[in-house]
Each structure stands twice: as C-alpha cells, then as structure tokens.
C-alpha cells in the first residue's frame, strides 16, 4: 500500500506529543496517577501543622519552614515521575521502533508533569492558607506575594519532577528507580546549604541542588533578613532562674526587656547580625534562583531525551 507512494510523511514530533498527552491523561484518570494530588495535600497539611506557626515570622521559623516546604515540593516532584518511564520501558522501546520520537514522548511527559506540579502547588498553598500560615505581605515579582511563593513552589516541584524523570529514563526497572530515589533525596536535604554548616567543596556542591535555590528564593521572598532572630533570647530564657548572690539578674533583665520594647530591639538586632546576603529581599535574588531552577529543569529534560535515545541498545 505504501511502498508505491513517494515521499510519504508520518506524524512528526508535534503531532506525536498529543498522542502521548492523551495517553498520559487517560492514565491519570484510569490508573492511580491522580492519587499524587490527595497525597500532596496530606503532606502539606502535616508540614504546615508542624512548622507553619513561625513561617515568615522569625528567621528560625522562616528557615525551617521554607526548608520543609522545599522538601515537600521535592518529595512530590520525585514521586510524580520516578517510575513513569522505567515501568513502561519495553513499550517505549517497541514504539520507538515503530516511529515514535523520544523528544515528543518526553515533551508530552513534561506537559503532563507540569499539570500535576501545578495542581500540587495550588493544593499546598491552599492547605497552608487554611492552616493559617502567614504569607509575606509584600511581593517582589508579581503584584501578589502568594503568587510569587506559588511560582517558587511550582519551580521546585517541577525541577525535582524532571530530575526524577531523568532517573526514570535511564534506569531499567522500577526497583532500581526506587533504590536511587532515597539517595537523591538525602543529597538534596544534606546539601541544601541552610541546615548544615558546610564549607569548602561541600558548600560549592550546594549550588547544584534544587533545595538550595528553592529555599533561597523562599527565604528572599519571605524577607528573611528583616525578621527577628529568637534563638539567643530563647537560650537566655532557659537560664533565667540562675541565682547570683541571692538575686536573679537574668530574670530581672528579661522582665524589664519584655515590659519595654528592648526585647523586640534585641531580637531585631540579633536578626540583623544573622543576615544572609543570598536572602536579600529583592527581585534580582528571586529571579536568579528561578533562573537556576529553570536551567536545571531544562538540563534534566535534555538528559532524559538523550538517555532514552539509546533505548534501542537495551539488551533483551
């Protein structure tokens, strides 16, 4: 039928994207992919319950809260796509043999995963909102601070999602993918550059983690540098019952400081001495972080395409 016709063309990359998008959205409905949405709501609920009270209020609360938010985004992203390619690798190989373009296949995944990440971001913000998490009042990029935060959460989730997609494209089984995933997760947590004191090479390594740029963007948006620092005050408060020559000077000072505005001034002064220039409350800082996240996303997707182009080399 076809051999006698000259210059026969088949569906190109663009048209093939829609074939696979259809397949993926059917998978969302008929398979268990939709479950990632309620799962993200539960995780967001737990995290905001634990760290939401001091988020964007104190430096410690902001750092801990944004770290936790970054972690849930990475968790969501990883779980969205870690198995999506490796579980159907033989099918991909067959379809590649029949004319499927790998770039179209990955693009379809990217669009579909963007949809999932967007839904998860909206869910996370909604959960934070109903658990009374106080979001920043001032925005940096868009007119609404909550949208700025939402974009950052989306970019973190999507970047992690693409990283997991990349892993899924070069491992050959779901078991292998699920074995690698915890290592990646630990790497992201340890090298976030915020929670653990790192120096030298270790500090440089933080530049390649999603958590570092995600957390930095969130801290900048939350105006971390202008927040009071309470650690010193809390440490001193633990010693307030200490007696010297029959008196309790620390308790006396704390009472005085609390009754006047000295306490707030001390907390603010502590915060000022704990500023981090990376967390500067300006649009450039945030855009720089977003830029890194977008760059990582593009790199991960490109590596996924390259890895999958070699699928024909898979041994039987």
């Amino acid at each position: 039928m076809m051999m006698n016709e000259k210059n026969i063309k088949h569906r190109g990359r663009f048209a093939q994207v829609f074939i696979y998008l259809g397949k993926l959205f059917r998978m969302f409905i008929f398979q268990n992919d939709w479950k990632v949405l309620p799962m993200s709501a539960i995780i967001a609920g737990l995290v905001s319950f634990v760290v939401g009270a001091n988020l964007f209020k104190t430096q410690e609360g902001t750092l801990m809260g944004t770290f936790a938010l970054s972690c849930i985004c990475i968790w969501n992203g990883f779980f969205n796509s870690i198995q999506v390619i490796c579980r159907e690798r033989p099918i991909v190989k067959r379809e590649h043999r029949s004319g499927m373009h790998i770039s179209a296949y990955i693009t379809a995944h990217m669009i579909y995963q963007a949809f999932l990440c967007l839904c998860q971001t909206v869910i996370t913000i909604f959960i934070c909102y109903i658990t009374k998490v106080r979001f920043p009042d001032t925005s940096l990029i868009t007119p609404w601070a909550i949208v700025d935060i939402g974009i950052t959460l989306f970019l973190i989730t999507y970047c992690a999602d693409m990283m997991a997609l990349m892993i899924s494209s070069f491992v050959h089984s779901s078991t292998a993918a699920m074995t690698i995933m915890p290592f990646l997760l630990i790497f992201q947590l340890v090298f976030s550059g915020a929670f653990f004191q790192l120096s030298g090479v270790s500090l440089k390594i933080t530049n390649i983690t999603i958590t570092k740029w995600g957390l930095t963007a969130l801290c900048a948006q939350g105006d971390y540098n202008d927040k009071p620092m309470v650690s010193l005050w809390n440490a001193v408060a633990k010693m307030q019952n200490m007696e010297i020559d029959g008196t309790k000077p620390i308790q006396e000072f704390m009472t005085y400081a609390s009754e006047s505005d000295v306490r707030d001034r001390i907390l603010k002064w502590c915060g000022m001495n704990n500023q981090n220039e990376l967390y500067a409350f300006d649009a450039v800082s945030v855009l720089r972080c977003w830029g890194f996240l977008v760059m990582f996303t593009v790199i991960y997707a490109a590596v996924a395409v390259i890895c999958l182009e070699f699928i024909d080399k898979d041994k039987r």
Binding site: A15, S98, V201
Partner: protein, 451 residues
C-alpha cells in the same frame, strides 16, 4: 637515620607481594587443571576473570574483574595524593564501596569453584581468609580435580563460509547477511554469519532454531532495527538505506504483549494508526482503517474494553493488529503463540496465513511449529556452528526440509542441529555445509538458466 630499618608498612607490602606470588603459583596449576591458559594467573585483573571461568561464573567474573581493576586504579591514585586531602577521603569511600561489591562477587565465584571441584561450601571461608594458600592447595594437590573443564571456543572453527550471494529480485525479500558482530567484554564475536536467502511475496515462513542460534538477531537484522554487514532488499528498495521510511513497511510483533493496560482496545489501535499511518491520510480514512482492522482481528466487540482486562489470545491479536494497521509488506512475529492454547494458537496462525495470502511476507518464530506446520510454505533453519555463531542450516519448502534433514517433524530437526550440551545431536555444522553446497548448486543452475 638508619636506612636498614624496615618499617611496618614495608613488611606489609613485602608480605602482600609474597602472598600474591604464592597465589599466582596456585592459580597457575589450577588454571592448567581447568584448561585455562595458565599464564593468565600472572596478569592481575585477567587472572580474576579467568578464575571465574574455572568456577563456571563468567558473568560474575566480568564484574569482579572490573571491580578489581577499579580498586587497583584507585590504590595507584591514592599513592599520589595527600592523606589529609578531601580527594583521599572521597577515594576511600569509593574504595570501600568497591571492595564491598568485590567481596560479594568473590564469594559467588568461590562458591562456584567449590561446586566445580565438588567440594563442600565451607571451603569458601578458607578462600576468603587466605586466598593464596587455598589456591596453592587446590592447584598443587592431586585430590582437587574439576568436574568440568573450561570450554574454549575456537573462532575459526565451524562450517566454512559459502558466500552464496543471492541476487535481489524485484519482488519479495532478499537477505544477504555477511556477518553480524558485537563486542562482548572486549571480544569481537559473530552472532550471525553467511546467511543468504530470498523469500517470495505471499509466503509464510517459519524461523526455526535452538536457543542462542540467532533468531531474534536475524529478525532484527532483517528489519533493519540492528543493522548488520548485510544487504536487505524489500522488493527493489534497500531497507538499510531507506530505513527511516521503510520501517513503516515492516511490522514486528514482539513476544511480549507490550501495550498499556490502562488504555482501551480502540484507543490503543487508534494511537498506533496515528503513529504508523502516513500523515496525509484523512481522519475519516484512518478511523475506517481502525474499524476494519478491529473487525478483521475479531476485536470489534471488545473495542471499549481496557487492554488489561483482555484474555491472552485477545491481547496477542491486538498486538498483531497494532503492526498490521499500517498494512506492512513484511510481517515478522516473535513467538506469537507463547502462552496460548492449541486451538487459540491455531486460529491465530490461520489469520497469519490469510495475511500471507494477501501477498505479504509473514515470518514467524515459534517453539511449537509442528501443530501448525501445514500453514507454512517455507522454513529457515538457523543453527549454532562450532564457533557458536548463528548460521543458515536450511532454507526451502517445509516438505523438502524433512528430506534434507532426514526427519519427520520440525522438533526432530531442531534436536538434530542443537548442540550436544543442549540435549541435541550437535550436527549443526554438518547441515550448514550441506546446505551451502545445495545452495551453491541451485545458484549455478539459476545462473545457467539465465544465460
């Protein structure tokens, strides 16, 4: 400073070398017993690989040798870097991981040695604790003899090369495979060699061969998926040169039903049609084709069902329909009857016969050919020769194949050509030579007729 003083580290190094030499001597004799070139015992890394050959654990040996090599390399790097540097720390961590993996593979190999030498598994402990001394004991003591020796494969063994090149015809499929090679652990090996045949249109051909004879490699070479040193002509078109266009004219149905279980039958087929049919076809023509194929393969009534809910036979029919949708001229199926009962399999092969009767070339790999042999026109018999290369032992009509091999069924033919260690008669080389002569004669005759 007294230069005559030998430090603790030096003693350790000297002992290491002494033990290595003792071990080499042990392995030298052990390799001789196992028919492995004993000189390999003196070459690090290669020695580790050859121990695994003695143990009958070649696969493990590859990994073990690589790990051993990596470890050696890391040790050398470690000599040149400061003990306090971060690189030293990183290398130490990697070395720990490598040594752990090495230990696991070492245990597997030593267990294999115990099995080959018919010794108790507890010997493995001694191998681990003091490898060199155990190697000396096993190598030099006459009471340690292997139950089987390492089989060496002579690359030049096997039937001679015929080069019975087949002239391409304007119709049908012409296959001229000179060789299909691969690199396997630094060695170049032939998977297929010297296969020349021409299949007319409308023929249904059985592809017969034992395990490892190269059936799938042959199919992949013919379809252009894994290109060989070959010329594959489908009618007057070179399949390799125009692969990007020609691949739509070749349908390959894999052994497993590789389809997404969460899609419906209709959607699966419709997507396959969108992917495989030319983009110039209208949506109505495409839909019409999908419904035609659904009906043709008896899937119309279940078009709305999810693929995961289908029976084995229905799934197989859908898998075939996915390739058939583009109406290919060459249709190849890898064990389409696996997992199907006799009646369902028969029905499936009758469907394939009907496709061949439409003027298509249908090539089928099956391990139970005798129940449906009446439906085939020709048979291609592939056999492993003495060098373990897939060779053409026969191509011709099914009827003539019985006379050629002096057997009454395909299963008997398979037993004849299979290697002795596979339970066969090991006559593959004999029939490869015999067929080469037959093909040469018929080629000469055809040449005379042309003149």
């Amino acid at each position: 400073m007294d230069t005559n003083l030998i430090q603790g580290g030096d003693i350790f190094d000297i002992l290491n070398i002494v033990f290595w030499l003792i071990g080499s001597l042990g392995y030298y004799n052990l390799f001789k017993k196992c028919s492995v070139k004993p000189l390999w015992s003196l070459v690090p890394v290669a020695r580790e690989y050859h121990i695994s050959l003695c143990a009958g654990k070649e696969r493990e040996g590859r990994t073990y040798a690589i790990l051993y090599g990596v470890n050696m390399l890391l040790e050398i790097i470690n000599l040149f870097i400061s003990e306090t540097s971060i690189l030293d720390m990183i290398i130490s961590i990697i070395m720990l991981a490598v040594v752990t993996a090495q230990c696991v593979y070492m245990i597997r190999i030593f267990l294999g040695l115990c099995q080959v030498f018919e010794r108790k598994k507890r010997w493995t402990w001694l191998w681990i604790i003091t490898e060199s001394l155990t190697a000396i004991i096993w190598g030099c003591s006459k009471s340690f003899e292997p139950s089987r020796k390492v089989e060496s494969i002579d690359k030049d063994a096997g039937a001679s090369i015929s080069d019975n090149y087949v002239r391409p015809s304007d119709t049908g499929l012409t296959v001229n495979i000179n060789g299909r090679t691969t690199i396997d652990f630094f060695k170049k090996i032939y998977l297929l060699r010297d296969i020349h045949l021409s299949i007319p249109e409308g023929h249904m051909v059985l592809l017969l061969g034992g395990s490892g004879a190269g059936k799938t490699t042959f199919v992949n070479a013919v379809t252009g998926y894994e290109q060989a040193d070959a010329s594959i002509m489908l009618r007057d078109k070179d399949l390799y040169r125009d692969y990007s266009k020609m691949k739509y004219d070749v349908g390959f149905v894999p052994q497993q039903d590789l389809m997404r279980g969460n899609d419906t039958v209709l959607r699966t087929l419709a997507d396959a049609a969108t992917l495989r049919l030319p983009s110039g076809i209208t949506i109505f023509a495409r839909k019409k084709r999908v419904h035609e194929v659904l009906e043709e393969f008896g899937l119309g009534a279940i078009s709305g069902s999810l693929v995961e809910k289908l029976s084995g036979g229905q799934r197989k029919r859908l898998s075939i329909a996915m390739e058939y949708i583009s109406d290919p001229s060459l249709f190849i199926l890898d064990e389409p009857d696996s997992g199907l009962d006799g009646v369902v399999a028969r029905g499936l092969f009758e469907k394939l016969r009907a496709i061949a009767d439409l003027g298509k070339i249908v090539m089928v790999i099956t391990h139970t050919p005798d129940r449906v042999i009446d439906l085939f026109d020709d048979v291609i018999v592939l056999a492993k020769d003495a060098s373990r290369t897939g060779r053409l032992a026969y191509y011709g009509s099914v009827k003539d194949s019985y006379d050629f091999f002096g057997k009454n069924s395909m299963e008997e033919i398979l037993l004849t050509i299979n290697q002795k260690e596979e339970g066969g008669e090991g006559r593959g080389d004999e029939f490869v030579e015999k067929y080469a002569l037959l093909a040469a004669k018929s080629g000469e005759k055809a040449g005379d007729d042309d003149e």
